[in-house]
């Protein structure tokens, strides 16, 4: 295997023959009340802008809309390509498109870049209207709840009263859960994939190492690096650490083993010896060209803060008002969002009588499994969605109203 082969665009990122094709990212700036957009951290944003993409058509009943919520480094570009020369399709092209699980022939699919991001939505790299300069660290801290409230504005704007589904993996799952709890009557189903109701201690620890790497880079300059040299080294290290947590021991071994990169013998210096080193460096370097270091800090912090049970007493109480049906999926080799965390969620959902299907899919690809082609996941989503749509159209109650009153 040569370096080029490793670093090529993987097959699953290339648009396939079933891809939706050319798509465009749109931006939207809502009319906000004079107080602007208040944030959970106590501060507020005078205005917000959201980047989003939509695919498919909203039907007349407006009951076929699906909101996809993305993970840490994702964006609004879920499927298709932006230009005919794009070699890379959107980040979930394997699941979203005509005839795919999130079938754009049947459903109206929406995805927006999260608040705090750097892909068209407002974030620390956006211009602060008060100074005319990029916000940098003057950008207020945003939470998963803030991201979701911003998405709700967009969903309102698009004229959708109740979403057929909200689906997300990893941090996208956080947002999906938050939606179901915060706006229970707006969500018919949640697909919580490779996620959890709170970030684990270990995951917080990895996030902190990533942030420290960024902030230790002299080019970070307290977050005021816009228009100057950006903290590439720090952000690349953060990405390398992150990337390790997305893979699995087994998969890394299978993919790279102890093979050397473009050499026959050890260098006996600190140049790149192993393929795995080369791969991580490539991932880190590629990332700095498409991601803002401050956004990484803000978003990873928002992940760390997320705990659905916060302010509710317990997770069981958090799910009390939920009206959606749930599909919870974990992957056997995912050690960043391990199965036990999905089970905690399922336990609390079951305790509330929420119709929940839990599926643990065998996979060796670690946390990244949810982004890769996976027939089990694809089928589970296809089947689940079909039944949810049927339930929505039949006015299915979903769960017992309260206690034992369900009995005839």
């Amino acid at each position: 295997m040569t370096g080029n082969e490793i670093h090529d665009v993987p097959e699953y990122f290339a648009p396939d023959e079933q891809s939706i094709g050319l798509v465009v990212t749109q931006t939207w700036t809502p009319d906000l009340p004079p107080e602007g957009f208040p944030l959970e951290g106590g501060r507020r944003l005078p205005s917000i802008t959201l980047a989003y993409e939509t695919y498919g058509k909203l039907n007349e009943a407006r009951d076929n809309a699906i909101l996809i919520v993305h993970a840490l480094s994702g964006d609004a570009h879920v499927a298709g390509i932006h230009s005919p020369t794009d070699r890379k399709a959107g980040w979930w092209d394997v699941m979203v498109g005509p005839g795919k699980s999130y079938d754009t022939d049947k459903y109206f699919v929406i995805c927006s870049n999260i608040l705090g991001g750097c892909k068209g939505s407002i974030g620390p790299s956006s211009i602060n209207p008060e100074t005319g300069e990029p916000y940098g660290l003057d950008f207020p801290m945003v939470t998963i709840g803030d991201m979701v409230r911003a998405q709700r504005l967009l969903v309102d704007y698009l004229g959708i009263e109740r979403l057929l589904a909200i689906t997300g993996g990893s941090m996208g799952g956080f947002q999906a859960l938050e939606w179901a709890v915060r706006f229970p009557d707006r969500v018919a189903s949640v697909h919580a994939i490779a996620t959890a109701a709170r970030l684990s201690t270990q995951a917080i620890a990895f996030d902190e190492v990533g942030r420290q790497a960024i902030m230790a880079d002299p080019d970070w300059a307290g977050g005021n690096y816009y228009g100057k040299s950006t903290p590439k080294a720090g952000l690349a290290i953060a990405r390398m650490i992150g990337h390790i947590t997305y893979l699995s021991d087994e998969q890394m071994h299978a993919k790279f083993g102890r093979r050397l990169q473009d050499r026959e013998t050890f260098s006996y210096d600190f140049k790149t010896d192993f393929q795995v080193e080369s791969y991580l460096k490539y991932q880190g370097d590629a990332f700095v060209h498409r991601f803002d270091a401050n956004s990484y800090l803000y978003i990873s912090k928002a992940m760390d803060y997320f705990d659905l049970a916060n302010g509710c007493g317990s997770l069981i109480e958090a799910f009390e008002g939920v009206q959606a049906e749930f599909l919870v999926v974990s992957f056997t080799s995912d050690w960043l969002f391990p199965t036990y965390q999905s089970k905690e969620m399922v336990r609390a959902l079951q305790a509330n009588g929420v119709p929940t299907t839990f599926l643990e899919i065998p996979s060796t690809y670690g946390h990244d499994s949810f982004l890769l082609p996976n027939e089990r996941l694809a089928n589970a989503v296809t089947d689940f969605l079909a039944h949810v749509q049927q339930h929505v159209r039949q006015g299915h109650p979903g769960r017992p109203v309260s206690g034992r009153e369900v009995r005839a």
């Binding site: 599926l359 089990r376 009995r407």
Partner: protein, 210 residues
């Protein structure tokens, strides 16, 4: 895993008989629910509110196809998620003999459910007895299809054994239904000899303190 896939078109008699024991509108949990066929029948024919637990991921995918909410995992673990007496009926169809600790499973069933329906292959069935007697080998037939070295059936019992267990564990027996293979309901007369499959309805004996 229950062998449900072959029976999709034809309604299985044991399922029909289990269904007959369940009042309409009940809350039902099916342990080892396989492909979800029984759950679907209960939901559609009886308006039951159903949940399943299944350990085989392929079978879970089948449940998804049928739109049945199912928990993928171990049944004892899956049952801990539910409050006491959450269900009206908990079903364990032809799986008791595959559990590591049948009394524990039955008690947990009767914690989360007000009643349990348990079916199992009767090891006292005449064919089983005769096979062992005359061939001197572990019995193998349609109800016990596995060779001894790979059978999941680690705790086989007879109708009499099961009745004794109920007495010993303080469980009240309700309906008892017996089947002779391949698919015929028979009376309870000499059931421990004649029945290939037994279906028992059991409840906790409510003490003076509830």
């Amino acid at each position: 895993m229950r062998q449900g896939a072959d029976h999709v078109t034809k309604r299985r008699l044991d399922y029909q008989l289990i269904e007959s024991l369940i009042p309409p509108g009940s809350r039902v949990l099916d342990l080892g629910c396989g492909d979800g066929q029984l759950l679907k029948e209960l939901a559609e024919h009886k308006g039951c509110w159903v949940r399943g637990i299944e350990i085989n991921d392929q079978a879970v995918s089948e449940c998804l196809r049928r739109g049945m909410p199912v928990y993928h995992g171990d049944m004892l673990e899956g049952m801990t998620f539910f409050r006491d007496s959450y269900f009206d009926v908990v079903i364990l169809s032809q799986t008791l003999q595959q559990t590591a600790n049948p009394p524990q499973v039955i008690h947990e069933m009767l914690r989360v459910g007000r009643s349990a329906i348990i079916s199992f292959p009767n090891f006292g069935y005449w064919l089983t007895r005769l096979q062992l007697l005359f061939t001197g080998k572990m019995p193998r037939h349609s109800l016990l299809p596995y060779p001894w070295y790979s059978t999941p059936n680690v705790h086989l019992c007879t109708v009499t054994d099961f009745r004794e267990l109920c007495a010993q564990e303080g469980l009240e027996r309700g309906e008892e239904i017996f089947l002779s293979p391949p698919d015929r309901r028979i009376s309870g007369f000499l059931a421990n000899w004649r029945a290939g499959l037994a279906i028992f309805q059991v409840r906790r004996i409510e003490g003076p303190h509830g």
